[in-house]
């Protein structure tokens, strides 16, 4: 196991960890504000065109959305377990949990891929590209603009999360982490929970309102 060296502008490992954690929480605040813009647009256009939202929402695939929600909730659990095992110096277990988390995240993206291609195929596209005859409301393209912007931005965050988990897994496998130093695992975990949490809001707002 390679010993982690505390950067010399910190006094202690604890101070370094506390700083990193505060930094990450602040970063999550910015994430919420970033998504917040889209949620505001959602609120405004839903208030303007409630019927259209209900009608358009029915053309999303609830089953796949629901499976994806379950997948992400499971991944949050395995991520939390990975953090827990790392802190208790059980790095083999931690590696297994990280691998599971990675698989859940990948599953989410695969399902999302099938959802997207189906939408492309049907012509349920954002804005000016919208060409789906079954919805009569003239503003229905706005709903699909929102759908693609919100789930797209979320998807990018899942991809970033996959990268982070992979990085943590490689380092964990190398034996970098343990009870003395587990900052990257914990921070990746916190980030991953936020990504899940955003989906928990996206799912009902987009899929379940019809």
């Amino acid at each position: 196991m390679t010993e982690h060296v505390v950067p010399d502008h910190f006094h202690s490992a604890e101070q370094a960890f506390e700083s990193s954690k505060l930094g990450l929480w602040l970063f999550l605040v910015t994430e919420i504000l970033l998504f917040g813009g889209l949620f505001v647009i959602y609120i405004i256009y839903r208030a303007m065109y409630p019927d259209m939202f209900h009608e358009a929402s029915r053309h999303l695939n609830r089953t796949l959305g629901f499976i994806n929600t379950l997948v992400l909730i499971c991944s949050s659990f395995t991520m939390a377990m990975a953090v827990n095992k790392t802190q208790n110096d059980r790095s083999n277990r931690a590696n297994q949990y990280l691998l599971l988390t990675l698989m859940f995240a990948a599953t989410f993206m695969v399902i999302k891929y099938f959802e997207y291609t189906h939408k492309f195929h049907e012509g349920l596209l954002p804005g000016a590209h919208f060409s789906f005859a079954e919805i009569t409301h003239p503003k229905a393209d706005l709903f699909f603009s929102l759908y693609f912007m919100m789930t797209g931005l979320h998807g990018i965050h899942v991809l970033v999360g996959i990268g982070l988990i992979l990085w943590v897994l490689v380092r964990s496998n190398r034996g970098d982490f343990g009870s003395r130093y587990s900052t990257p695992v914990e921070l990746t975990g916190i980030y991953w929970h936020l990504v899940d949490l955003i989906w928990i809001y996206l799912f009902p707002l987009l899929y379940l309102i019809g």
Binding site: D8, S19, L22, V29, L33, G37, I41, P126, A128, S145
Partner: protein, 530 residues
């Protein structure tokens, strides 16, 4: 990093590569300073060209070229100079030193944010080179969706630079919370840091919103998503709300650090403890808070509801309270102080004078009935230049002269400093005081030409801009001259009391030889004896 000798001063040793890979907050601060000053010069040249066009009636450049000039002047000055300059350059350099720390909390993130800033700037420069942008720095839809110019590069540049601002702000907040030296309580922090702290909060909370806005604008152009496009069922006023939700707080990102510098300089050059330390400190936070609930005052003549207009007008007046608290406290600090009129103090006085004018004319614009008449006239242009240039830039120049000896170990030439300060002050008032009258007479902003009755004042304004240009030319020259030929600076040329003046000029890599223990506040001057 661990291999370097920490007793050498931070400027010594290493070539260009060691600068480009440095994790030292002081070097990163200097790199920010070089970059932002360079952009300031470019933005300034565009300003001079805008004024040149308006020197006389009749076109000198084509109207399209003129639109690009003022857009680039605005976008470069706002995003590449005035937002980053004080926090990222002076803040980076002095924040860790003033709290007695070796560095910021995340040095690598700090370097990264410089590179992100440069990449964002590069995109904006690319927008200039690929034909420029003609939307104004506000990128209002629907025109920005249809404009044939390089809106995508410019907005992506703004988006990327936003990341840099967020990371810097985040770094500063964590540093202030976690890395203060023993005994450095919040209430013993220099007021510059309170201002930087308030600024960082705004940066972290507001910038993500411009981030998503610019992303959506790009999507609007690429995918035609329709959120802001009336043709597709969207609402262009929504874009204005989004834009100003960031860009109004951004105005306080620009001014708060300047106020912080003035608080330092006024007390040091009055040889007197600051009057109302807590009031100044908390008014910074109050300004940060209020900044988030006044954005609608940019939209009084959009289709915003009368009720919203009324509320935004009322809330906007609130801004005057904490800013006036600062001005009164600075004035009270000087009262019976032993005032030393060196260049930094001259700039601080210029700040108070000009910023007060800028602030009071802001109240005119906050009043609904008056704003309907003055909206989009030169009155607004004059108002925000009094705040941004008369405020922030004067504060920056005060700080630059104040800290120059500490940063580079050389004194600037005092006589030349006073001369260029006078030129800039006179030129500034000639340029912008005239614009208040032009605006009141009804001259609209952003037009390349005007009616004959506006000619004399416009001519005077353009002449003023040459004075400003001359002042800055002198300043850049003597600053560069002083790096090589300036007198060696002592550790504490101003007899200031904050921590950065207890260490060598220029500081060593680790700032302090051993960690300072703080036992008093930042401005412990004795009683004034008369």
């Amino acid at each position: 990093m661990s291999a370097t000798d920490h007793t050498k001063n931070y400027l010594q040793g290493g070539g260009l590569w060691s600068w480009l890979t440095t994790l030292d907050h002081k070097r990163i601060g200097v790199m920010y300073m070089i970059a932002t000053m360079f952009f300031f010069a470019i933005g300034g040249i565009f300003a001079l060209l805008v004024r040149l066009e308006l020197f006389k009636t009749g076109p000198l450049f084509s109207p399209d070229t003129y639109n690009k000039f003022f857009t680039l002047h605005g976008a470069i000055m706002v995003f590449m100079f005035i937002i980053p300059v004080i926090p990222a350059a002076l803040g980076n350099f002095f924040l860790p030193i003033q709290i007695g720390a070796k560095d910021v909390a995340f040095p690598r993130l700090n370097l990264l944010s410089w590179y992100i800033f440069m990449i964002g700037s590069f995109l904006l420069v690319l927008a200039v080179l690929s034909g420029g942008v003609d939307t104004g720095w506000t990128f209002y839809t629907p025109y920005s969706i249809r404009s044939a110019t390089s809106v995508i590069f410019a907005t992506l540049g703004v988006f990327i630079m936003g990341f840099s601002g967020i990371l810097t702000g985040l770094n500063f907040i964590v540093t202030i919370h976690k890395l203060r030296a023993p005994g450095m309580t919040f209430h013993r922090m220099p007021l510059f840091l309170w201002a930087i702290y308030a600024t960082a909060i705004i940066q972290v909370l507001a910038t993500p919103v411009i981030g998503i806005t610019t992303v959506l604008l790009v999507m609007e152009r690429v995918l035609h998503i329709g959120f802001f496009d009336p043709k597709l069922g969207g609402d262009p006023v929504l874009f204005q709300h989004f834009f100003w939700f960031y860009s109004h707080p951004a105005v306080y990102i620009m001014i708060l650090p300047g106020m912080g510098i003035v608080s330092e300089v006024i007390t040091v050059f009055s040889r007197k403890h600051i009057f109302g330390y807590h009031a100044i400190a908390y008014s910074s936070l109050a300004i940060a808070g209020i900044s988030f609930i006044v954005w609608g005052h940019h939209m009084f003549v959009s289709s915003q509801s009368p009720l919203a207009n009324f509320l935004f007008s009322l809330l906007t007046m609130l801004v005057a309270v904490p800013t006036a608290i600062k001005v009164f406290n600075w004035t009270a600090t000087m009262y019976r102080g032993s005032i030393w009129l060196q260049t930094p103090m001259l700039y601080a006085l210029a700040f108070i004078f000009l910023f007060t004018i800028g602030g009071l004319t802001g109240l005119f614009l906050a009043a609904l009935s008056v704003d309907v008449h003055l909206h989009d006239t030169y009155f607004v242009v004059a108002h925000f230049h009094y705040v941004m240039m008369g405020g922030t830039v004067m504060g920056l120049l005060a700080g630059l002269h104040y800290w120059w000896p500490k940063m580079f170990g050389r004194m600037y030439p005092e006589g030349w400093g006073k001369l260029s300060c006078s030129l800039i002050f006179i030129g500034f008032n000639l340029t912008f005081l005239t614009q208040f009258f032009l605006g009141k007479m009804g001259m609209p902003r952003r037009y390349h030409d005007y009616l004959p009755q506006y000619a004399p004042l416009n001519m005077a304004s353009t002449v003023g801009s040459w004075f400003i240009g001359a002042g800055f030319l002198i300043m850049f020259t003597y600053f560069i001259w002083s790096l090589f030929k300036g007198a060696k600076a002592p550790a504490n040329p101003w007899d200031a009391k904050t921590l950065e003046w207890t260490i060598e000029s220029p500081p060593t890599t680790h700032n302090f030889h051993k960690e300072p223990v703080v036992t008093t506040g930042p401005y412990e001057y004795g009683e004034v004896k008369i």
